[in-house]
Symmetry: C2
Subunit: 231 residues, 2 copies
């Protein structure tokens, strides 16, 4: 196994608890709305919206734009079709101020003492900057897939990140709570760390550890990852 | 004047004292060499090497590559033609571990409390990451011109930075010690801050404040800039 020089992180679900944050924001805007269901429904439109870019059906658009289009589709279904454009923009910006999982701030600080750290996320650059500032996270740079005009799991996102870091893929560790992201990273030569986030879709959703994929590391949180990496 | 949201910084000469650092590294490798003259000569090959990319004479190459080619040209002139490739690589990496000017660490920390900060430099991403880690600087992301496969003062570097930050150019402040960089930034709609670095080329080099360019701010160091911006 090659020596690890840099860690790149999936963001939504891996570092940030999007569901609780989005539910809270929509409830504060419209107290009667089922916030959790709204958050889940918004997030379920995420992969289909990316897929239209990945497939070439439409040109690249920033995730902020895709989130906003999904929101416009969703609002009438939740009886919120009367929100005006500035209110929609503000709600869309909720993705810029998500709260991190409880282990993230300290875990990243420990990892940063020894490794180069960057998000490798489908979030656009400005979104990822805002999230890191909101949570007080220190990254060395932002490796948004916007830089490559592509979306994970397209190969150019993983390989482009390694190229910018000037590192061979096997010296870069992809950290994520999603097996498909890690499988694509591994296919492109990166090392992988699975972080279990059983609450990503709420306490009542079923959660299963992926068993079919051999990851370099499999941990319960970033503190455990820091332990395993000797930080 | 629009409200400023983000500050982008030139790096070599503006934040980092390349001359003292490079001179020290070459002297430690070869005590008899005139370190200051070597540093100046290496830096004088910088713009011509960028110009071959900007003009289209050659495809884009990272600054690390250009620095290394310039070094190979230079070494025989200083009686160092016998350095082997690993020694040359190590010396080339000296650009990744420059020391900042004395006001930079505290100045950036103050500015970071209120503004998004990023280097906007011809240094490649990995070089800029290493410099920030070496000096203990906290940026929100790295806006290397490598992201745009171009070199300042090409317009796509300034405009690309604003696009990734999702900000209109007039809400982005370019900070540099070089009038030509600031003039190009202003031409592309950015606000500008000139920082005087009279020692960039050493105490015996002549230094003149640019008088023909109306910058948004003109300051003596980053502490003064933080004062002016109310940080």
């Amino acid at each position: 196994v090659a020596e690890i020089a840099a860690l790149v992180f999936d963001v939504f679900g891996t570092l940030f608890d999007w569901r609780t944050s989005i539910a809270r924001e929509v409830r504060s805007l419209a107290p009667g709305v089922a916030g959790d269901a709204f958050a889940d429904a918004w997030r379920r439109l995420y992969q289909p919206s990316l897929e239209r870019v990945r497939s070439g059906e439409r040109p690249f658009a920033k995730l902020d734009v895709l989130h906003r289009e999904s929101l416009d589709r969703l609002l009438p279904e939740f009886g919120l079709g009367n929100l005006d454009p500035p209110e929609r923009d503000r709600l869309n910006q909720a993705w810029h101020r998500l709260d991190p999982w409880p282990d993230v701030v300290e875990g990243l600080a420990r990892l940063h003492s020894r490794f180069v750290l960057a998000p490798l996320s489908n979030g656009n650059v400005s979104l990822l900057i805002d999230l890191a500032r909101h949570a007080g996270l220190q990254f060395d740079t932002v490796l948004s897939t916007e830089l490559f005009q592509a979306y994970k799991p397209q190969p150019e996102t993983y390989l482009g990140a390694c190229r910018l870091l000037d590192r061979d893929p096997d010296s870069v560790l992809m950290v994520a709570a999603h097996a498909d992201d890690l499988r694509a990273a591994a296919t492109n030569g990166l090392q992988t760390a699975f972080v279990a986030r059983p609450l990503e879709w709420g306490a009542s959703a079923s959660f299963e550890h992926p068993v079919d994929a051999p990851f370099t590391f499999s941990v319960g949180d970033l503190g455990e990852l820091a332990d395993r990496l000797g930080c």
